[in-house]
């Protein structure tokens, strides 16, 4: 079970991630996107999911990642990610609900390059009973 005190709180990701051109290019190639000057719309999941896993499985929240299923995902892209961005990721646990033993956790991730908000991602993480 999630620590109930974590609902409503914001946790800062420990790392900042410097985005390389090669990772933008590799990600775009999977989808057949030839223009690599900016990242494709779902690229930020590479940053936010990694940071989320670290935050949500940490001692303060306490999710068992082996039982996690990705329920839904939303991206609000303020500007596209480009090579050279140094992104930090904060996670806010917005809502929590328990249904038939499954936990539904809505998390907002804010990705910033310095003070600039680049992308806001929401996801529902389902921890199966």
């Amino acid at each position: 079970m999630i620590n109930p005190d974590s609902v409503g709180r914001t946790y800062a990701g420990a790392k900042s991630t410097t985005i390389s051109q090669s990772e933008i290019t590799q990600f775009a190639a999977v989808f057949g996107e030839p223009n690599n000057s900016v990242a494709t719309p779902t690229f930020s999941i590479r940053v936010s999911l990694d940071q989320l896993q670290e935050i949500l499985t940490g001692p303060e929240v306490g999710i068992n990642w082996e039982r996690v299923v990705h329920g839904d995902q939303k991206f609000e892209i303020h500007r596209p990610i480009v090579a050279g961005d140094v992104l930090t990721c904060d996670a806010t646990i917005e809502t929590y609900r328990l249904a038939a033993g499954n936990e539904f956790i809505n998390v907002r991730s804010d990705l910033r390059n310095g003070d600039e908000l680049v992308c806001t991602n929401w996801c529902t993480i389902v921890v199966r009973a």
């Binding site: 999977v30 996107e33 990242a39 995902q73 609000e76």
Partner: protein, 123 residues
């Protein structure tokens, strides 16, 4: 919008795992997938969503024009070995304050694999 078909096979799953960093074995290892109750290896939900994202970017004239994109993962896409499955993507565009609201569909064998798939784009 005009319907488009994306092929998903095990090689694409491996490429997406490497590009995204999501190396969960349910997307690559058949024995592991079956051990956790799946019928076979399944595609990453974010791979399916990313393919629909490509459909959106191409319609909008590039990734830079995509402002919002969301979907629910309603049904896993099962990907057997040595073959590919067809992801059929389509959508309806409605103009809204100078932007376009897209209502998207993504199906495999006639079954919806994403729910409430939507995007907001500039064009």
């Amino acid at each position: 919008m005009q319907e488009r078909i994306f092929k998903i096979d095990r090689e694409l799953l491996k490429r997406y795992a490497d590009a995204s960093g999501d190396q969960n074995p349910i997307h690559q290892d058949e024995a592991f997938a079956k051990s956790v109750g799946l019928t076979n290896v399944i595609a990453h939900g974010m791979l399916t969503m990313g393919l629909v994202g490509q459909f959106v970017s191409d319609w909008a004239g590039g990734s830079s024009n995509v402002k919002e994109f969301s979907a629910r993962f309603t049904k896993p896409v099962v990907v057997p070995a040595n073959t590919s499955v067809e992801l059929v993507v389509n959508g309806v565009a409605t103009e809204e304050n100078g932007l376009f609201r897209l209502e998207l569909t993504a199906t495999v064998d006639g079954v919806k694999v994403l729910g409430m798939a939507k995007a907001l784009v500039k064009k």
